[in-house]
């Protein structure tokens, strides 16, 4: 029992941080504690969450994915350009499937670069990011798309079971990936590769395949996030998503995913994303100037990571 407590001490300490921030915010501004606002916070953080989950997988295998923002932009543009009002529901669904396949392909190309070309992940995904965003710009041809069907708008902007849909998507994704990581052999392989790549190889684990899968999944989650985000914004632009990579990485790191690999879990990611959003939301409620918000976020990120006792000892 004591050992279980110790193992989860990190998660608990982070949870405590969330509760603390929450309490402070409620004290400052009572309107913070309303259900509407809480759901709002959750809805905003759900997007970061989805992406952070994908990036977390890359970090778990010891890498990183900087291309998520660009993937979202590309997904967004493709959808915006080709699926406006006038298409049948079936066409939309097929279109979404196709776009998700593309986002997975972007992830796969990251994976190919890292696993087969042996490129450093930072650079491979940076390069792919450039390429993807360039494509997004190209396909936009200067227009902004925003004429979406009601069904589509529901994906990101609707309510189901009294809860905003993005939260549901995020929850579903989290549960799926969490289960995968903890309960499947793929998850075991991811942790093994992240913890000690060579040892994994000697144990007969398909290192390249595992890396490829992790990055592909990251791309896929970015694609899903892109569709949800586009639906919520009700418009598609090539510039969106630029800051998502940073945010998601910060959320994952705050949540205890180690940059070295092999350390951390999905629960931490949730906490990280929530903390990040709480702070931003809190500042808005307080009426803090948006310029200052950026700065305060920076300080808070540093401070909240200080709480983390399990941060890797060195490197990066």
């Amino acid at each position: 029992m004591k050992q279980a407590f110790k193992a989860h001490a990190d998660a608990l300490s982070r949870l405590a941080a969330v509760a603390l921030i929450f309490a402070i915010l409620i004290l400052i501004s009572p309107s913070f504690g309303t259900i509407t606002n809480i759901l709002n916070v959750l809805r905003i953080s759900s997007l970061t969450l989805m992406i952070a989950t994908g990036i977390a997988m890359c970090m778990l295998v010891g890498g990183i994915d900087l291309s998520v923002g660009a993937t979202i932009a590309l997904t967004s543009i493709l959808f915006g350009r080709y699926f406006q009002i006038g298409h049948s529901a079936l066409e939309m669904v097929m279109g979404m499937a196709g776009i998700l396949a593309l986002s997975a392909a972007i992830g796969a190309s990251n994976g190919l670069c890292v696993a087969y070309l042996k490129l450093p992940p930072f650079l491979a995904t940076y390069g792919v990011q450039q390429i993807a965003r360039g494509l997004a710009y190209l396909l936009t041809e200067g227009l902004v798309y925003s004429n979406f069907t009601e069904e589509f708008k529901f994906i990101g902007g609707g309510y189901a079971l009294g809860v905003p849909t993005p939260i549901l998507f995020a929850a579903a994704l989290l549960i799926a990936i969490g289960l995968m990581l903890n309960k499947t052999t793929l998850g075991r392989r991811i942790y093994a590769v992240g913890s000690n790549r060579e040892a994994a190889r000697y144990s007969g684990i398909n290192v390249k395949g595992t890396l490829l899968t992790a990055y592909t999944l990251s791309g896929l989650t970015a694609g899903i996030a892109g569709i949800v985000y586009t639906s919520r914004l009700n418009c598609a632009e090539p510039t969106i998503g630029a800051e998502f990579a940073q945010q998601a990485i910060a959320a994952a790191a705050i949540g205890g995913i180690s940059f070295k690999g092999g350390h951390g879990n999905v629960f931490g990611v949730i906490i990280g994303a929530v903390i990040l959003t709480l702070i931003t939301n809190g500042m808005t409620l307080l009426g803090i100037d948006s310029n200052w918000q950026v700065g305060v976020t920076g300080v808070i990120i540093i401070l909240s990571v200080l709480i983390d006792r399990n941060t890797a000892k060195k490197k990066v």
Binding site: L119, L123, R133, G134, L138, V294, K314, K315
Partner: protein, 344 residues
């Protein structure tokens, strides 16, 4: 000594050469190899990636990464511009009586700011276990915030300050060229020894010596090579990493000054994003993310490669979006080939 230098020339130098040749062919030698264009590339480099890459190199070599560099560039540039133009009694008085002193003050304040941010990075890095990635992400945001606050929504222009403009736009040596346009003839002045380039080379020279001949340089490499060994040998790894980031901050501030000088204006968005170019330049120049590799000069070549790419693409009229695609592809290509070479 010469033989060892030659042996060290990495693939990047031939690559640079090849790129220049390729662009020359595509664009047309007459247009590309023109003195004004070449100087243009070089100056674009110095006021952008060129010096920032050195800061990136220092961070990466000591097993870190500095994402705040772009923020520092923006902040220092903004600060310089503001100090030079702020209508406040103390500064206005100085501007009238001793503009040189004001300029010196502004430059010093700017570099000091870079030092401050860098030391903040270094301090947190050396006292806690937080990855440099996160710390510099945070300080980046802080710098961006401060820069925006100073700008207060506007672009701060520095007009009529010849001394200041000289830093980024001036040249120690000028060449007069006669430009024929149809029937008319005009004279164009091309600066062939830009001050900013001199600053750049000076910095790289200094740091080349520092990395090879000082204890600090050896310790940076040692940390990258085997952190535990460095610690056990009694090296103050914390102080070394602190210094690496401190110096990086100061170096980035220099870029901010040069950039603002060249543009004679500062807007909060100037320089943001340079940290990534810096990392790309350092890595293309041979640095490994695990630290302990490459040298300042190689990093400079990497920076030039990136600048040549951008300039070349602009010349052949490639749209911005295509440029992004192309640079991404080239980056992947370069690193892949280098990785393949090193594996043998």
């Amino acid at each position: 000594m010469k033989r060892r230098f030659l042996r060290q020339i990495p693939m990047t130098l031939p690559l640079l050469f090849a790129m220049v040749v390729l662009f020359a062919i595509f664009v047309g030698p007459a247009k590309y190899l023109k003195l004004s264009n070449i100087m243009n590339v070089i100056v674009q480099c110095t006021s952008g990636v060129g010096i920032v890459a050195l800061a990136s190199f220092l961070a990466i070599c000591s097993t870190g990464v500095d994402l705040s560099l772009g923020g520092i560039v923006s902040l220092s540039g903004m600060l310089t511009a503001k100090l030079l133009t702020w209508d406040v009694p103390l500064l206005s008085g100085l501007r009238e009586q001793s503009p040189a002193l004001l300029l010196a003050l502004a430059v010093l304040a700017s570099i000091a700011t870079g030092a401050l941010v860098g030391s903040l990075n270094g301090l947190i890095l050396s006292r806690t276990n937080i990855p440099s990635f996160i710390i510099t992400l945070g300080t980046y945001k802080i710098c961006e915030t401060l820069s925006r606050v100073i700008a207060d929504g506007t672009t701060v222009r520095v007009n009529g300050n010849a001394a200041f403009e000289f830093i980024g736009g001036g040249s120690l040596l000028n060449v007069q060229q006669i430009v024929k346009q149809g029937a008319r003839q005009s004279v164009r002045t091309v600066g062939v020894l830009p001050v900013s380039v001199l600053i750049l080379f000076f910095l790289y020279l200094v740091f080349s010596i520092v990395m090879k001949r000082t204890r600090f340089g050896t310790y940076v490499y040692a940390i990258g090579g085997n952190y535990d060994a460095a610690e056990l040998s009694g090296i103050d790894t914390r102080r070394t990493r602190f210094r690496a980031f401190l110096l990086g901050g100061m170096i980035a501030a220099v870029t901010g000054i040069i950039m603002t000088s060249r543009l004679t204006a500062a807007s909060a968005s100037n320089g943001l994003g340079l940290e990534f170019d810096g990392i790309a330049a350092a890595v293309v120049g041979g640095a490994a993310m695990t630290g302990g590799r490459s040298t300042p000069w190689r990093t400079l070549i990497g920076a030039f490669i990136i600048s040549v790419l951008r300039n070349g693409f602009n010349m052949i009229g490639m749209s911005n979006s295509l440029q992004m695609i192309a640079i991404g592809a080239v980056l992947i290509f370069v690193v892949a080939v280098d990785a393949a070479r090193n594996r043998r």
